[in-house]
Symmetry: C2
Subunit: 251 residues, 2 copies
């Protein structure tokens, strides 16, 4: 549909982009949990490139919010705070409402078929691992975004969707993705009928329930990051730096 003189944003088969795609996928399949270390040499060796390239890829992913880059320290997969996760979902809701609003009644038959096929795949993957279910569910939303033919919208929806995946590993309890699948079907139906008001409401409700299923507790009690928890208090003690902690979080 769009021209591809130099294939703008899509599939640039740059070594950097290859690494980015691989890492993104590892993140949404939760093979890489938040906080996982990403040393440049290890990445470089794994992908057969030099540190320079691995570093560049990490920079890109940091820009997307998937990776946290701390000066002179090993990069890690980002660990969004509960509030950040909530914010991400809020933004996602607005963006995806925009997506379906633009799409309502404008989809071709083959596009609708493609969407249905994707949801069929989600259905079939029901018995498999959570990782695959989550990936497929996320890809459904990205597929929708693609159909708007708006590169910017694709980028933002993808980014924020990945970020949301990240929070699943952190704050979610084991969930049934069953309802999500039927909600996807409902959205497709409303899109096909061209009912703009209904489909935006469906999407809002869908993402809202995903968020509520994911962000169960406002308390990130998962043991990691004692230091971060204490950081706000540290300001009250000394102005410039966190005091040394008596032997705590490891790894």
């Amino acid at each position: 549909m769009a021209a591809r003189p130099t294939s703008k944003t899509s599939k640039s088969s740059d070594k950097v982009s290859v690494i980015c795609r691989a890492l993104r996928r590892a993140v949404i399949e939760q093979a890489l949990e938040p906080g996982a270390k990403l040393p440049e040499d290890a990445l470089g060796e794994r992908f057969g490139v030099s540190r320079t390239i691995a570093r560049h890829a990490l920079g890109q992913l940091a820009g997307e919010g998937l990776v946290e880059l701390r000066r002179n320290r090993i990069a890690v997969v980002a660990t969004p705070s509960w509030q950040e996760a909530r914010d991400a979902f809020d933004i996602r809701i607005e963006l995806e409402r925009l997506v379906v609003r633009q799409l309502a009644g404008k989809l071709t038959k083959s596009q609708i078929a493609e969407l249905n096929a994707h949801v069929d795949a989600e259905h079939r993957a029901r018995g498999g691992t959570d990782a695959v279910s989550i990936r497929l569910a996320t890809e459904f939303h990205i597929l929708l975004a693609h159909m708007t033919n708006s590169p910017i919208l694709v980028r933002y929806v993808s980014e924020v969707a990945y970020r949301c995946c990240l929070t699943l590993s952190l704050y979610s309890r084991p969930h049934s993705s069953e309802c999500a699948i039927s909600e996807h079907r409902a959205i497709i139906a409303a899109l096909a009928k061209g009912d703009e008001a209904k489909v935006t409401e469906l999407m809002r409700h869908h993402l809202d329930s995903v968020a509520n299923r994911a962000l169960v507790a406002p308390v990130p009690q998962r043991g990691r990051d004692l230091l971060d928890i204490l950081a706000p208090y540290a300001d009250a003690v000394t102005g410039d730096r966190v005091v040394k902690l008596p032997r705590a979080a490891r790894r």
Copy 2:
């Protein structure tokens, strides 16, 4: 408000970020027009760093959509198509409505004072160059986003606002920013009053009129990019590549 153990996204005084900030600013002040070339060595020399760093910065900006990176070619400031510009404004409207919705009735006195001070500065800059007016107007929106205390929202609003600036150089005619200033004041007033419905409507209207002032004609008749215009047709002629053009667009 937030802790700053390693100062997460803000002001990382990385050499890379310094270059990024400088280039972003040059873009929003239209010192760098869309299509302007950005050779790595030139940047490196200008900022006193090596090509490696300049390259890294370009990668970041490409991720933000401000720069276009073509393999083996000199990077250039992005030239969004008219449709992309329209999409950017659509997204921006939704994002900024979210901003003011979160902010309505929640601003402290000092924050309101800060906003008013900023608009005062916009007013004073009225007589100066367009560049400064545009920058200040943009920074008003980013300042609002900052007050949500949501790093993600800040990032997206900033990015999309920069992109919108980019389109001003391309598709806008000389404009009076006078009305924009009074609209900014109206938004502040509605925020202070806590009238959520009104402020979201004000913001929608404000951005919509900015967009309409900016995107006057759906036809990018500015001579550049003959090749891009023909690209869709080229597919019909030869499957793999655009045929050579008989001496046309230069530079």
